[in-house]
């Protein structure tokens, strides 16, 4: 790892290093039903971050004694492909991947209607294909879209975005340099229709006022992403729109 000087994150004209305004999202792309075997699947891209998610289930849980008598269990794995990062990542699960798998599972459990499927398990596997900041949220959203693709009942789709602090300025949907050199990184995910937060973390430091401002900024971003997700689901049936 080369030793570099911390670069300027906000340039003279107030724009960020990738040309975005502080409150601008990266381009988003969603593809549904990309795998044949999985019950549901999706590829979710935000800028250069690209994640594929697959869902299997609900299906009977074996061994039986691990099954929950009144609801479905979730088995969730967040994993980064070795070729997803600048330096090759060892495929063995890292502590970070283990923590994120748990955090993502808890977020998904807040939305999946697990009571409908006692004694079953729902498997959710996410594979990061390209990592360019925001992988946990893109993975969570890919999983949410894959669950919708599988027809598994949920309270709401999940939309999330990270707010960072770069050169003192609050920025929406942080990129890699902002992730590496910024003063804060706060990922937030919500069930937008219900106004419920399902994921919240902070890496870095901010004042309580900055936190509230960041939440405002996050909500704006989430609202935009949510609409894109809805459109992606609706568009599958748009070709056959009735007169």
């Amino acid at each position: 790892m080369m030793q570099v000087q911390k670069p300027r994150l906000i340039l003279e004209n107030g724009l960020r290093v990738d040309g975005r305004k502080p409150d601008e999202l990266r381009p988003i792309r969603i593809e549904l039903g990309v795998l044949k075997n999985a019950d549901g699947s999706a590829i979710f891209e935000m800028g250069n971050t690209k994640v594929i998610a697959a869902v299997y289930g609900p299906k009977e849980m074996h061994p039986r004694h691990l099954a929950l008598p009144d609801k479905a269990s979730l088995r969730v794995r967040y994993h980064m492909a070795p070729f997803s990062t600048d330096e090759r990542k060892n495929p063995a699960p890292s502590r970070r991947e283990i923590e994120l798998s748990k955090v993502i599972r808890e977020a998904l459990e807040a939305t999946v209607l697990v009571d409908l499927f006692p004694r079953t398990v729902i498997d959710v596997f996410m594979e990061v294909l390209q990592a360019d900041a925001g992988t946990r949220l893109v993975s969570l959203m890919a999983a949410s879209m894959a669950l919708a693709d599988a027809g598994i009942p949920m309270k709401d789709l999940i939309a999330g975005v990270a707010v960072g602090k770069a050169d003192g300025v609050l920025v929406l949907d942080i990129n890699e340099p902002e992730d590496m050199w910024g003063e804060a990184d706060m990922p937030v995910a919500m069930l937008p229709s219900l106004g419920q937060v399902v994921l919240l973390q902070l890496n870095g430091n901010m004042t309580p006022q900055e936190f509230r401002q960041a939440l405002d900024l996050v909500q704006k971003g989430i609202s935009i992403i949510y609409n894109i997700e809805k459109e992606a689901l609706r568009n599958r049936y748009a070709e056959y729109k009735e007169e």
Binding site: L35, K36, N37, A38, S41, N48, K50, I52, A53, A54, Y56, K59, R77, H79, A81, P82, F83, S84, T85, D86, E87, R88, P91, A92, D123, F125, E127, L129, Q130, A131, D132
Partner: protein
């Protein structure tokens, strides 16, 4: 320790009858001839962060191979060679019963067969990977990730590895005595691979030999043999699979069938790579 696997894909008996009835008429249940491959698609450069990559589909099987280059040291007894490491993962995304975890015996077998095809054919020229002889070399990591298991994964993994290696360019290196400066952003025209290699799998169902078994056919195979070839038709790898047995005549017939079918794969590669 290797344990007999449970039956993970129950093929309905009526379907088995259909398959055999079709084979008797010289055709397979998906309409293919016995020596035909399913539709193939190759997308080079699918992953931006990889030094080389290829997304390859044959029928419903989907594989993504990514090449990452790393500075390394040569083995003491081979100072003028870089290192090639092939890793295959049968991801839990690919099939309902695949579990997360380190590569199992199936993934390891595929990785080793692909590695041998690339090495024994000298398709990968390890001498090209030297930066400072005896001191610094390139480690070429080929990570082959199977995302959708639709049968005959080995052929697809070899194809994806070869395509990804052709998509790879070694970065510019400035050497001054003992000092090496690697300029990652500038690429040379040098690829780690100098000739293409393909693997063709032939399966046996009853007395019929079929190329590129799909997942249903694969579940009822009596035996299979995978052959690796160079463009000139040289055999650079063989692996028998499944727990049935074969006569010498059957193997002879399979090799002929495989060699003919190998042209289909080379033709496909030619569409995307300047061979």
């Amino acid at each position: 320790m290797s344990v007999t696997p449970p039956n993970e894909n129950i093929v309905p008996l009526i379907k088995k009858d259909s398959i055999l009835a079709s084979l008797e008429r010289g055709v397979r249940i998906d309409g293919r001839k016995l020596g035909e491959y399913r539709p193939i698609s190759i997308t080079l450069g699918y992953i931006k962060k990889a030094e080389g990559s290829a997304l390859v589909k044959i029928g419903d099987t989907m594989v993504l191979a990514g090449v990452k280059l790393e500075e390394g040291e040569p083995f003491e007894d081979m100072p003028n060679q870089g290192n090639l490491i092939v890793n295959v993962e049968l991801l839990p995304l690919a099939y309902e019963t695949f579990e997360p975890g380190p590569p199992d015996e199936n993934a390891i077998e595929i990785a080793r067969v692909v590695d041998r095809s690339l090495r024994d054919s000298k398709a990968v020229d390890l001498s090209r990977l030297v930066i400072i002889p005896g001191k610094k070399v390139w480690n070429v990591w080929v990570d082959v990730y199977v995302f959708d298991y639709g049968g005959n994964v080995l052929d697809v993994c070899t194809l994806a590895s070869v395509a990804a290696l052709y998509n790879t360019r070694l970065p510019k290196v400035e050497v001054e005595g003992e000092n090496v400066k690697i300029i990652k952003e500038e690429k040379t025209d040098i690829t780690p691979i100098v000739q293409p290699v393909v693997t063709v799998t032939v399966g046996k169902i009853g007395k019929y030999l079929i190329v590129d078994p799909n997942i249903t056919e694969e579940s009822i195979l009596d035996a299979k043999v995978s052959f690796s070839y160079t463009r000139e038709g040289r055999i650079v790898g063989m692996q028998k699979g499944v727990n049935g047995s074969l006569t010498l005549q059957e193997i002879d017939a399979m090799e002929n069938l495989a060699r003919t079918a190998s042209q289909i794969l080379f033709d496909e590669l030619k569409k995307y790579i300047n061979l």
